[in-house]
Structures are given as structure tokens and as C-alpha cells.
Amino acid sequence: MVGRAWKFGDNISTDEITPGRYMGLRSNLPELAKHTLEDARKDFPSNVRRGDFVVAGKNFGMGSSREHAPLVIKMCGVTAVLAKSFARIFYRNAINIGLPAIVCDTTKINEGDELELHLSGGVVEDLTGKTKITFPPMSTTMDAILAEGGLMAYVEKHGDLVLS
């Protein structure tokens, strides 16, 4: 699936992804998703399309442990978040809910570039920039969790919490 790149800078916090002032919407995810990343880019929630990519600098998702942050990004239809690095709780949450969080060099990706993700091949293809960006596999356990679509399905499949 091909989607467009939405560029973000370094250190995007969970307070910018899902601001605390919308805490009352946490049990209403479709409504909460209408504010996704609005404090970082006001145009994002109204214009993001199914299949698009969030493309960021370093330390994406720093701050809170709110799982709602990756959940609303996924709910917007985003294929994957690509970043130079992630804050650890966001990263773990994203994989747990089945949203690919890919560590790769995002420098050469420009705003609006058409991207295609080949998850198992470890490649993001920039169709506009005509470049291929490779990324290494995650840890074995995280790859296995993502392959199942998230931690709930992974645990149910094994009937227990096990390492892969």
C-alpha cells in the first residue's frame, strides 16, 4: 500500500500526540483520534489519509505511557511511524497494538513523498525520491508480537507470555 509522508521534527511528545486536555475522550477513541498530533501539526488530523506515514526525527513519542498515543495514530489509518529513534514506552506500546514503529534514517524523506513499506523485507521505498531505505529487524520477541498483530493475539496464541 502506498501512502504519503507527513514530516515531524525531533522529540515529539505524547502530550502533542494526544494532549492531556482531551483525557475525557479516552473512552471514545474515534473522537480522540480527531485530535491526533494536532499540537504538532494542526493540519494532520483533518487531512491524513488511510495508508499515510508519520515520518519523524529522533525520540518520537517521548513522555507519557498512554497507549492511546499509538492507538489514535493507528486509528487515523497510518501504515507505520518511521523515526530515527523512539522513546521506549511509545515503541513498546506501538508494537503491542500492532502499529509498525520503524527505526530508520528519515533524513532523505520529504514531506508528501509517496512511500511503500515492505515490512518483512526491511525496506521502505520512497517512490517520489526514488530511494530505498533499509532497516534492521527488531528484537525477536518484538518481531513475533508484531507478526501476530499485537501482544493480545500473541499471548492468546501461546496461551501464556513467552519469549520468542
Partner: protein
């Protein structure tokens, strides 16, 4: 064989094998799990959906209602009802609205040295001030940890923060951790354990240690840890749990990824400027910043020792005209102590207003939301854009002492002028 860091010891003792080293990926037994009203409804949904047998530990699973109290909207009230009913219905521990902020209550009533705790809150690393391994995770991870009494972890590499020298008057653990963050940046310790030690730590009481470890996550760390020593024992005695004390320290030949020295002697009070807790400068470079609201509260600060310093500075003084001064005791126990010691009267006379123990003001959920263009000076741990509920406001961070002096003058002020 090399010795063990605190992180290796605390995680290792919770594995089936009984030991672990940095880089290992392990399944660990958890002593405590917790959630709260901000993540609880999602967590409870996951617990209910997960089709595996439940091993919920009635004595070690804690639900807090602390993130928006008293609830300002029907939606949040409904969320809190879900959490309250789940805890009561399953005979789990409920720390209801008004009882206090999760990290503070965990330190007062539950955690002891050597424990391993995971919760749905990024500041779970606060536990390290008591030499308990705590780390924050999302609702799904904690739902599974609660239901199965275990989780998986990668054992972190450790960075030794060697804090030498002696803190001066009016300078505190908050200034030390802000200084540390200015050196590490907001991702300088990602995935790692920050282990605080050194001569200044030997002299730091648990309340200050909790302030240090609370903000470890602000450098991206998985946790922050301090050894368990005679001061830890004294703290546990004060909260009526001395029998739970045990001595724990890292081995002399433990292997650290790096070692960073911070000198407490001569350290100026430190201020985090907008919009990052690592954007730190000494107070002398913040003097002309006019402040509209001072907020003294949160899991970072305002344990009773902090409240005594606040009262010492504000006694007989008045807050600046037009400035809002908001004080939130972190728990019912600290609130009661403030009452017994006359601190409430001193602060009320100085013009403070109190909100009940909770997290709401810190992150813009309830109370104290600034007007457009206003500046907040907060004793909290985060000042990201929009954090306090209005993206058109700015937040500076500092110690309770600096906040108190700032409340008097209306400008960011060096507290040493008032001590």
C-alpha cells in the same frame, strides 16, 4: 565474573534463573502492578478480552483514581466509575479519589527495597528512590502483567550518575536532576537505567531520592535507581514499615556503560525553560521572566520535607499581586501532616489555594489551566508544548524553594534570597 548493577540485581532476583545481565531478555515475576483512571478503562477492557486464565493478585494489584480529581466532566466520572467498580468488584486495592498520587502512595504504603513493580504510568521509575525497580508501560502490557503476574523486560545497561560534593542551602534534589537532564538531554538515557550514587546521594533522604528517580524517564531511561541504605531504613520506619527494609547496593565491580559526575557543591538552583525538561539554565539566567501562575505539587516534589521548605519561605509573606498560587499536596497523608504542622495556615495566609491530592494540574486535565500567553512556574517534571492544558501558554520547571520565592516576587527568583 563481574559484579552486578542495581538494575541487574533487582531484575535478576525476579527471574526463574535468579540472575540476569545487561542485554538479557527475560520474563520476570512482578511484585506489584498498578493502573489509574487515565489508563484504567483501556486496561480493564484488555483484561476482560484476554482469553487466558486469570491470576490477579488481590494484595498486590492497585488501582488509583488520581489523574482528574474531583472529576470535572461526566465522561471522566464514567471512566472513574469503571475503574472503581472493577477494583471493588474483584477485591483489588483501590486508592480512591483524594487519597493521593499513585507514585507517592506506592512509596508511602506499598513498595520496599528489592521489589519489582510495573504500572501504566511513565513515572513508575519513581520507585527507584526506594531501591525498587519500577518502570512504566502501556495498558496492554500492564493488563497482561496483572493477569499473569509477570512481564518481559530487556535488562538495561546502566549509567552511573556519580553525584559528588554537598548541596548548598536552598538547592535541592530537583536542581540536581534538572542539571543531570541538561547534560543527558531528553533521550540521553533511552532504554537505560540511571543509577545515582556518590557522596551527595549518601546525604540525600528518600524524599529527595524519589525526586531524582521520578525524572529519570525525562532522559528516556527505563528506570532510575538508588541503593537501599540507612536513610531508606529511616524512611520505612517513618511510614511504619521498617521490617520491610533490607540493604541493597551495586557490587563494587559492577559494569557500567558510562559514568557521569555531577558536582552538587556550588550548584545554583536550576530552571527548565520551555518546552523541554532538558532545556535547563541556572536561575541567574532566568531572572527577568515574569510568572502568572505558580504550581507547587506533583509526584516529582511536595513530599512533607518539600512542604516545610515552601512554608519556611512563604511564612509571613504574600504572593505577588495578580499571581495565582496553586498548591497540591501529593497524598492525604502529606496533607494531614501539613495540617498538623501548621503549613496549611501559612500557605493560605500567603494567598495559596489548594487542590486535592492528584495529578490534574500538572498535565492540563483539571484545574489551573493557564490563559493564552500566560507563564506557569511548576514543580512538576514536564513542560512539553501544551502540557498544562493550553498550547498558547509556557511552562518553566524548578524546585519547590524556587517556586516559593517566585510566588512572592512574581518573577523567577533565586530562593537563596529568602533562606
Amino acid at each position: 565474573m563481574t559484579g552486578k548493577t542495581l538494575a541487574e540485581k533487582l531484575i535478576g532476583s525476579h527471574t526463574a534463573k535468579g540472575s540476569a545481565s545487561a542485554g538479557d531478555v527475560v520474563i520476570v515475576r512482578v511484585d506489584y502492578t498498578f493502573s489509574h483512571d487515565a489508563a484504567g478503562p483501556l486496561l480493564i477492557q484488555q483484561i476482560n478480552q484476554l482469553k487466558i486464565p486469570s491470576a490477579l493478585d488481590k494484595n498486590r494489584t492497585v488501582f488509583f483514581i488520581d489523574h482528574a480529581v474531583p472529576s470535572p466532566t461526566k465522561e471522566l466520572s464514567n471512566d472513574q466509575t469503571i475503574v472503581r467498580n472493577y477494583a471493588l468488584g474483584n477485591d483489588l486495592i483501590l486508592s480512591d479519589a483524594g487519597n493521593g498520587i499513585c507514585h507517592q502512595v506506592l512509596a508511602e504504603d506499598y513498595l520496599s527495597p528489592g521489589d519489582l513493580m510495573v504500572g501504566t504510568d511513565s513515572h513508575s521509575c519513581t520507585a527507584g528512590g526506594l531501591c525498587a525497580f519500577g518502570t512504566g508501560m502501556g495498558a496492554t502490557d500492564i493488563a497482561i502483567a496483572m493477569k499473569l503476574r509477570k512481564t518481559w523486560l530487556r535488562v538495561p545497561e546502566s549509567v552511573k550518575m556519580n553525584i559528588v560534593g554537598r548541596l548548598g542551602k536552598g538547592v535541592s534534589a530537583k536542581d540536581l536532576i534538572l542539571k543531570t537532564l541538561s547534560m543527558l538531554g531528553t533521550d540521553g538515557a533511552t532504554y537505560k537505567s540511571l543509577e545515582f550514587d556518590g557522596t551527595a546521594i549518601n546525604e540525600l533522604d528518600v524524599y529527595g531520592r524519589l525526586t531524582l528517580t521520578n525524572m529519570a524517564v525525562e532522559a528516556g531511561a527505563k528506570t532510575g535507581l538508588v541503593k537501599s541504605d540507612a536513610r531508606t531504613r529511616r524512611y520505612l520506619k517513618e511510614v511504619g514499615r521498617e521490617q520491610q527494609w533490607k540493604e541493597i547496593h551495586a557490587d563494587d565491580d559492577a559494569s557500567y556503560e558510562s559514568e557521569i559526575e555531577v558536582n552538587a557543591s556550588g550548584l545554583e538552583p536550576q530552571i527548565a525553560f520551555p518546552d523541554s525538561p532538558a532545556n535547563v539554565k541556572p536561575v541567574s539566567e532566568a531572572k527577568n521572566v515574569r510568572v502568572n501562575e505558580v504550581f507547587i505539587g506533583t509526584c516529582t516534589n511536595t513530599r512533607i520535607e518539600d512542604m516545610r521548605i515552601v512554608a519556611q519561605i512563604l511564612k509571613g509573606k504574600q504572593k505577588a499581586k495578580g499571581l495565582k498560587l496553586i498548591v497540591t499536596p501529593p497524598s492525604k497523608k502529606v496533607y494531614l501532616k501539613c495540617m498538623e504542622e501548621g503549613i496549611l495556615g501559612i500557605l493560605l495566609q500567603a494567598g495559596a489555594m489548594f487542590t486535592p491530592p492528584g495529578c490534574g494540574v500538572c498535565y492540563g486535565a483539571v484545574g489551573g489551566i493557564p490563559a493564552d500567553g500566560e507563564v506557569i512556574f511548576s514543580t512538576s517534571n514536564r513542560n512539553f508544548p501544551g502540557r498544562t492544558g493550553n498550547p498558547k501558554a509556557q511552562t518553566y520547571l524548578g524546585s519547590p524553594a524556587t517556586a516559593s520565592a517566585t510566588a512572592i516576587t512574581g518573577y523567577i527568583t533565586d530562593p537563596r534570597e529568602f533562606i
